[in-house]
Amino acid sequence: MLRKLFYALFILSLLLGTSLVSIGQDDGMMEFEITQEMIDASPYLQSVLSRLDEVYDTSEFAKDPPYRIALAAQGTSNAWSALFDAHAYWYVEELGEDVVSELLYGDAQASADVQVPQVEDLLAQEPDALILVPMGAAALSAPVERAMMQGVPVVLCASAVETDNFVTEVGTNLFNIGAMLAQWLIEAVGEDGDFVMMTGIPGVTTSVIMEEGALAVFDSYGIELLDNQPGMWSPAEGKKIMETWLAQHGDAIDGIWTGGAQQAQGIISAYEDAEMAIPPIAGGEQQNGFLRSALEHGFDFLAWMYPNAMITLCLDAAVQILQGEPTPRFIDFINDMPEARPFTHAEAEDYYEPSWSDDVHGPITMSDEALAELGFLIEESG
């Protein structure tokens, strides 16, 4: 009875959270509405919304512990994924060998081409469940289908695929995130402002969906962007694009939407070189380098969080499935990790951690000792 009540409340909160997004700000609350038109135009949004009220009957996967779980991760590509992996190994130890006896690991090196055969290799080892961080929605759809056909339940972690044939997805509504960032920017600058948009890597699901959400909001206000270019989630590319924009538009740029904090550092660097005031930036993250720059320069921003620690929820979901418990088909990390909420410049000091190196993405659930072992703590130099 209690469980049913929990799920009812859980689903209700997801429905409310998805249809009406609110961000706590020092100057009050900000909201935007997902319209039917936006839903019709976005297959991703349709998929997420349709799964909000679904619960997967996992009794067919039930078995006794301990479990062998396969993790097809993004792999050695950046600090975010390094901390993601570190959280995975740390949490498996926390769960204990009597729950998870083995973590089979695949390093995709952030490439769908590498990941597709790697998933096949992992499945050949007959794991009890597969946790997949998909590097491409289309490319990874077939391997996901094959895993499910083989009787291996699939937990999508941090990104989506094009098929609906998996057990659950742990992440957040990326369309909402993109839209929320655009909405904040418009409210911070005004509808008459001139905006530029710097997306991530073209074709990568996370970037594409966030862009969809942002463009839906810009379109709803009839705003024509000055330009929209990919910053490739790279400080170097971000800086090159921003330099060109500054040469072209100068101080006519009133606000910047960015799909990530790494390229935002390139944006900030371009403004530093040009010795110009930095306009509001929507799209920072709890990345220590971004926050350090933001505190140094004092510009307005809205940051969102995509916690690498969400792998702990993915592991929990995998264990829950293997225990045969009904599992929600969409698990928004914000409900389980309330600290992973968006925040603005007003709270920058609360989130900046001087002892962390620039590339640490928070929030972190591991100890400082574990972070130090990974080389993410700044050593005192002589």
Partner: protein, 325 residues
């Protein structure tokens, strides 16, 4: 036996002259045409700030393209420079950890490692007869793997503030631009006025003839690979200062862009023909195209298509203009 009629000889001569003209001046004409098109399509390109941006960004590609051109001149190729950029960035940040006084030692260490990579490429190509594409691709994977193993996928450390000097400019003049022009002047002199330069061309034109005339072909080839790697380190230092951050993907694509710049600039893929003046024009052509595409707000996909068409167009023109035939 057939004898060419006088008007046929004249026609053939004028065709030969046209081909020679294209081979010698094609890239400059293309650059001029692009600059003229920009007056209509993107007049903003002629703003001092935009020119400064173009020149600053061109230097990163330009410095590495010097080495790539010299390697192409000996009928080689270097894909490993992509790994050298990343290695340089990591070494500079790791050794200095943000301390200005350690910049010189860090650069020297990076140069030594870069030279080692170049030496490895050269030895594989000359002593083991491994095709340059395979040898340098293998070296690229090796260097990237080694840097990943060293950093565990997470480059650490800080870029020293002093390297931010590469971002300072006086109108369009910046330190990286002066460095690029200085290196070009030096290597143009080397290639045109020294015995070493003549040997580079000789090895690329006809290896056997060069060997028979007493040139140490292997030494020339190895030295060019070492030079190319060291120039990639210099470019990597500039790029690291430009970004001001250790980025695992720093310089991605520059290895292919440097080959494109040299080829567009008229350096033959088979070696022995071309030079650095053409490469300068090729670098500017690619950089200006990229900047114009952003100024015009073109999608990234369209930008790739345009870049591809320019490279294919250049290669087609040069093949038509192949004066040897």
């Amino acid at each position: 036996m057939s004898v060419a009629k006088p008007y046929e000889s004249a026609k053939s001569l004028s065709g030969w002259r046209l081909r020679l003209f294209i081979a010698n001046y094609g890239v400059y004409i293309a650059l001029l045409a692009l600059l003229l098109a920009a007056t209509v399509l993107t007049p903003r390109l002629y703003d001092v700030n935009t020119i400064a941006v173009v020149m600053r960004q061109a230097t990163q590609l330009g410095i590495v393209a010097i080495g790539q051109t010299m390697i192409l001149l000996v009928a080689g190729l270097d894909l490993s420079i992509g790994g050298i950029f990343i290695m340089t960035s990591i070494v500079v940040a790791d050794v200095t950890n943000g301390r200005d006084e350690l910049v010189i030692p860090a650069i020297l260490i990076a140069l030594a490692l870069g030279a080692l990579v170049g030496l490895g490429n050269g030895l594989l190509v000359t002593k083991r007869r491994v095709p340059p594409f395979v040898a340098t691709l293998g070296m690229l994977v090796l260097v990237k793997g080694a840097t990943q193993a060293y950093t565990k996928g997470v480059p650490g450390g800080f870029v020293p503030d002093i390297l931010g000097i590469v971002n300072q400019s006086w109108y369009v003049i910046s330190i990286p631009l002066l460095l690029w022009l200085g290196l070009n002047a030096f290597f143009i002199f080397v290639l045109r006025r020294t015995a070493y330069g003549r040997k580079v061309y000789a090895v690329g034109s006809n290896t056997e003839a060069a060997r028979l005339s007493g040139i140490s072909v292997d030494t020339i080839r190895i030295s060019v690979y070492v030079l190319g790697s060291c120039l990639a380190v210099v470019s990597g230092v500039v790029l690291t200062g430009y970004v001001g951050y250790v980025d695992r993907f720093i310089g991605t694509g520059l290895e292919l862009d440097s080959i494109a710049a040299a080829i567009v600039g008229g350096t033959a893929f088979v070696g022995g023909r071309g030079g650095l003046l053409g490469t300068i024009a090729g670098v500017l052509l690619i950089q200006i195209l990229g900047t114009m595409a952003v100024l015009m707000g073109l999608d990234i996909q369209v930008q790739f298509i345009i870049k591809g068409l320019v490279i294919l167009g250049a290669v087609t023109l040069y093949s038509l203009a192949n004066v040897e035939e």
